[in-house]
């Protein structure tokens, strides 16, 4: 049998080849066109993030500047006492002079006053955008500047509130439900009386109840001394929830110190400063859940109960931030989060 072989190797340009090449070129051009727009998003985020960082640095690390345009030899850092006068140009900063990260209370208050003066309300960020260079011919950003308690997270924000229940600092429009850049700074505030919700030197043998709102910004117990080392001494801290209509109530002990069994007081090991913020806030979450599950209703009164036996203590609460240091000395300060949120718009 004779096999006849037909060889087709004359280098034809087949339809397959044309289709394949077309798809490749189409894909190549498509990706080439598409790539810049993919990274535009990331580029935009880098740019917005940098703006949030810039504003946070200018506010927390710099005291600000002022200058008298009519007499340029008159200038300085204390813009807070000059900004409302004639011919004054100024840029606000909140830091104490020479103390980056430590906020001046006067500067903070005048920053709010200036925002109100130039914008008409705290929610209007026009002046802030202008003074921090957030408006340019090519880009425009909105900004929200808030002071939060350190217990806050990016998804659970709790504002620092003074004793009147007002936010210590919230400037700018509400944060929208879109892509934003957020930059956090830890700042040190002075121990201003309006920032300390409760401060009490507690004597021996006391049941001390403080009505409070949770989550707390800061809670501090200072054990100082005892009046009798030959008797047991202890401290117990509870979170108590009550419904004032039904009078249903429940509590949980969140912190205990000392020995409730022995007959002596080991004051050497007990003396010191005890931060209780996290114990109280986490304890509150548990008690709240127990209360609602047990009684099928919501509590309308929240309190912290401090029970002390044979110890002299100081107890302090704040809704502004963590209390660092002994409040009876000038070392004490309140640490909060200054959060700058920027978005395009």
């Amino acid at each position: 049998m004779k096999v006849k072989e037909k060889r087709i190797d004359e280098g034809r340009l087949s339809l397959d080849m044309l289709i394949g090449l077309s798809i490749f070129l189409f894909a190549f051009i498509f990706i080439g066109q598409f790539l810049p727009s993919v990274f535009a998003d990331a580029r935009s985020e880098i740019s917005v993030f940098a703006e949030a960082y810039k504003v946070s640095v200018l506010l927390t690390e710099d005291p600000g500047r002022w200058i008298n345009r009519a007499n340029t030899s008159e200038k300085g850092f204390h813009w807070e006492s000059e900004w409302y006068k004639d011919n004054i140009s100024f840029r606000p900063g909140l830091a104490r002079v020479g103390r980056a990260g430590f906020i001046s209370l006067n500067k903070l208050m005048e920053f709010k006053n200036a925002t109100l003066h130039y914008g008409g309300s705290y929610a209007n960020d026009t002046w802030i955008r202008d003074v921090f260079g957030l408006d340019s011919p090519s880009n425009s950003y909105h900004v929200n500047i808030s002071l939060l308690i350190p217990y806050s997270t990016s998804y659970n924000q709790y504002y620092s509130r003074n004793n009147s229940g007002q936010n210590v600092l919230t400037i700018g429009p509400p944060i929208p439900n879109k892509k934003v850049s957020r930059y956090e700074r830890l700042v040190n505030l002075p121990v201003y009386s309006d920032f300390i919700q409760h401060y009490a030197n507690l004597p021996n043998n006391v049941n001390y109840r403080i009505n409070s709102t949770f989550p707390l910004g800061g809670a501090l117990l200072i054990v100082r001394n005892t009046s009798n080392i030959h008797a047991q001494c202890w401290v117990e801290v509870r979170v108590n929830l009550t419904n004032t209509t039904s009078l249903n109530s429940t509590y949980e002990t969140v912190y205990e110190l000392g020995d409730r069994v022995g007959s002596t007081c080991d004051i050497t090991n007990l003396t010191g400063i005890y931060p209780l913020t996290r114990e109280l806030n986490e304890g509150y979450e548990e008690v709240y859940e127990n209360f609602t599950q047990t009684y099928n209703e919501l509590p309308d009164n929240q309190s912290v109960v401090v029970r002390i036996k044979n110890l002299n203590c100081t107890f302090a609460l704040s809704n502004v931030g963590e209390i660092i240091g002994d409040l009876s000395s000038n070392e004490a300060r309140i640490v909060s989060k200054l959060v700058v949120t920027v978005w395009e718009g």
């Binding site: 049998m1 004779k2 096999v3 006849k4 072989e5 037909k6 060889r7 087709i8 190797d9 280098g11 034809r12 087949s14 339809l15 397959d16 080849m17 289709i19 394949g20 798809i23 490749f24 894909a27 498509f30 990706i31 598409f34 790539l35 993919v38 990274f39 998003d41 990331a42 985020e45 880098i46 993030f49 960082y53 980056a100 990260g101 350190p150 997270t153 930059y183 956090e184 700074r185 830890l186 700042v187 040190n188 800061g218 010191g272 400063i273 005890y274 931060p275 913020t277 996290r278 963590e322 660092i324 240091g325 000395s329 000038n330 070392e331 300060r333 640490v335």
Partner: protein, 186 residues
């Protein structure tokens, strides 16, 4: 008669070729359209914020003296007990541990989800300028950890003979101690 067409040369396998090309196209499109764009900024974003937090914490703890009294040096009465300075001068060579007030302040400012390692480095000026170090909080960091540091200046009169820094001074020169904190999320 059997007729064989030998056309293997220079042929594209049409269906497979088109399928493969479409597959590449779809994968590429999906990758770039997805919300997670693999870009350096995503990993750095978390690092920058954690690093900033670390620097802010160290700055907050660098509160120095509440009232300067050089004639009473070491003036431990006027040094804030939760400060970096006090933490350093109270260290004992036999068992170098940070004091409780310092640890309390540190923990109050750092979320429990952030772990830390604390080290101090200094130059021993009286031993051929060798670099010495101590580990004060000994946790093992993960590769994504970030490091922050702050320089604290100690004076010869600040420390006692039981201090690890005692033998590192020459004459009356001050000693720069680097406090290095390594942070990471757990």
């Amino acid at each position: 008669m059997i007729r064989v067409m030998s056309d293997e040369k220079g042929q594209a396998f049409t269906l497979e070729g088109i399928t493969a090309a479409l597959l590449i196209l779809i994968v590429t499109y999906t990758l770039f359209e997805s919300s997670v764009v693999v870009s350096p900024i995503w990993s750095e974003y978390g690092d920058i914020q954690l690093k900033q937090l670390g620097y802010d914490v160290l700055r907050s703890l660098d509160v120095h003296r509440t009232n300067m009294n050089l004639s009473a040096c070491p003036d431990t009465q006027n040094i804030t007990r939760n400060s970096l300075q006090y933490m350093l001068i109270q260290l004992n060579t036999s068992n170098p541990q940070p004091n409780q007030e310092f640890l309390n302040a540190l923990d109050m400012m750092l979320d429990p989800s952030i772990k830390k390692r604390l080290e101090v480095y200094w130059v021993n000026q009286s031993n051929n300028n060798t670099i010495e170090h101590l580990v004060l909080i000994n946790n093992t960091p993960i590769p994504d950890a970030v490091g922050v540091s702050r320089i604290i200046v100690l004076y010869p009169c600040d420390v006692t003979s039981s201090s690890p820094f005692y033998g590192s001074f020459t004459n009356d020169t001050a000693l720069a101690v680097e406090v290095r904190m390594i942070l990471w999320h757990v």
